[in-house]
Symmetry: C2
Subunit: 374 residues, 2 copies
């Protein structure tokens, strides 16, 4: 099949690397020059709202998917009128608006931190009445990697955030969480679904730096609770593909923080740590193949390469380290690749991950030494 | 790095799929149209002896490797005068001439079936005196998948073979072997080497149909003997990259049959059955990265897709089956892809392999039901 991907970044690159062996060809709609996915397919270099480019995508593909959720609704709808867009446009819409996303969670009975919309200073009292202090004030759209959000410790700081961040905001309670987890779920065209084990994620300056899978000390009840959340979202949206939900674990409970209607950085370990990766399962889902139950050979870790490229010889010399580069020009804070770690038990993977962390240096030097802050 | 590959078939395709994540770009010199590796790099569409094309390859690459050993010596030498060609041209030369190959094995003390060159009818007596009957009469060059060879059960049949096959032949004793095995070895630029476990191979009509790894009932002594053979060849040729040696096991001993100076069909299981595939280790070798010791999570099998494409939905629905397609037009006897099988113990892998075999149907229906004929 011919698969068109909205976006041509590293997620598109890895979708193609895993989808080409299944016999598929890829086209990427991507406005930026020399995208990471470029060497793996045809690039339609145009903005996401370019009607001629969208028509070209529709004409040359059998199915459209995305590796980037901030696609204009009109574009997704334009394509969906012509060929299958999976996950469906409604899922992109929900995921690109933090308020819509949280309201969806609430409608589905999925616990979240208390939240309140925030457009004008007049709403501040009501918002902070709901969230308490400190509150996290976020833009509803286009936030990523910790951008577009402020922690307000007082009403004055919240008012200042409103000045800085603009008018379409959401205020949320500041969650004192034990740790951050994510659940990766996949739903097929036939409604079948599979789940990867909960992954423990560590961020620095709002950017994911490390993931450990399965997350240590996960009870079957916690895994089941996370799966049930993903399942409710997927059923409601008639979802097809990989869905990631970022979660806080707080006092033994899970709170949904946000969702991504696509393959997710916290699932990159699946390339080496699972018999079937999130990328292959996403491709299987959107092309109508049966999903593969994601069997793991043992624990795995993922360390992002951020800002600076490591010495490839040093990384490759670490037993159990798997280097994945994205063909991107180094720039501070930019995700340039990742290293997966497999082999041995949890302690061995943890030790190897620490060794890799040292080799990655640069902005990654603040990676947590322990697997969990819990 | 920019890696040029001589040949653009499925082996080049899989080299690129595994080499791109390491940050490399690929160019393929390939005369045939729409080669399987095409979607993964730049194709220089020209014969292997086209000097202008070779110059273009030399100008745009940092290193040259091959996925096809029948490259003219003059072409390999032309390139080697300009940039590293790995494995070295001498290895290509030895591997493309069955007589040179067998003489190399003999010089290195590597056991083979008795053999004798055969150019003219006058040599028939001497040749059959060495080989006995039945004898296998083979062309020295360009044989593959059982083509270019004849089993002669009498002197008259041997004389007839000489008529049919031409003048540059080799006669070999017919080996009554227990089974066919192969050893995959990798040598790095620094002289380091790693080995995959011996693989058991099953052929039908001269075409590989199934591989099982590790080969059942392999003693450490047999594994060590195979590794020693590969090591001697690699040291002698100052080899860099993956080297495959096809072996006969006969009366508990190993005889070297032929070698391939490249990644090999009997190593395709490593894509799903080893932490590091033969393709990644080959790329590591030729680009000067340290090799990865090929850790296996459990037993694995590989089933070739020959002549006809299976129903992808059926194959993908088998737990532990991994589909790899080459983007080739179906044609009788043509290798169109393969299915790797992983998960569980040897009996489970064997059972899944049998199930996949049934789904592959067509010419693959004669796949052996048992793992070993031994």
């Amino acid at each position: 099949m011919r698969i068109a991907v909205l976006g041509g970044g590293q997620l598109g690159r890895m979708l193609a690397l895993e989808g080409i062996p299944l016999g598929h060809r890829f086209t990427f709609l991507e406005p930026s020059p020399a995208p990471p996915a470029g060497p793996l397919g045809t690039v339609v270099a145009a903005p996401y709202d370019d009607r001629a480019a969208l028509a070209r995508v529709a004409d040359t593909a059998d199915v459209v998917t995305c590796e980037f959720e901030n696609v204009p609704a009109a574009s997704a709808d334009f394509l969906a009128a012509r060929l299958p867009v999976l996950p469906p446009p409604a899922a992109l819409q929900a995921a690109q608006d933090r308020l819509a996303e949280k309201e969806l969670f609430r409608r589905l009975g999925i616990p979240t931190a208390p939240f309140h919309p925030l457009r004008t200073p007049a709403q501040l009292d009501a918002a902070l009445g709901t969230t308490g202090l400190p509150a996290v004030i976020k833009t509803r759209r286009f936030g990523y990697d910790g951008k577009g959000q402020v922690v307000a410790r007082s009403a004055a700081e919240a008012a200042a955030a409103l000045d800085v961040l603009g008018a379409e905001l959401i205020a949320e309670s500041f969650v004192r969480f034990t740790r951050e987890l994510s659940i990766l779920a996949v739903r097929g065209r036939d409604g079948d679904r599979v789940f990867y084990p909960l992954t423990e994620n560590h961020h620095h300056d709002g950017i994911l730096v490390a993931s450990y899978a399965p997350a240590p000390r996960i009870t079957p009840a916690l895994q089941a609770a996370a799966e049930a959340m993903a399942e409710r979202v997927m059923e409601r949206l008639d979802y097809v593909g990989v869905l990631a939900i970022e979660l806080f674990e707080a006092r033994g409970r899970l709170l949904a923080n946000e969702m991504a209607p696509r393959v997710h950085n916290s699932g990159h370990w699946t390339l080496d740590g699972a018999a079937t990766s999130q990328f292959e399962n996403h491709v299987r889902a959107v092309t109508g193949l049966p999903l593969a139950v994601p069997r793991m050979a043992g624990p795995a870790a993922m360390l992002n390469i951020i800002g600076e490229l490591p010495d490839a010889v040093e990384v490759a010399s670490v037993p159990g380290a798997h280097l994945h580069l994205y063909d991107k020009t180094p720039r501070p804070g930019r995700k340039l690749g990742h290293v997966n770690v497999t082999g041995g038990d949890e302690a061995a993977v943890r030790a190897t991950a620490r060794r890799v962390r040292e080799l990655l240096g640069g902005e990654s030097s603040s990676l947590p030494a322990a697997v969990s802050r819990g």
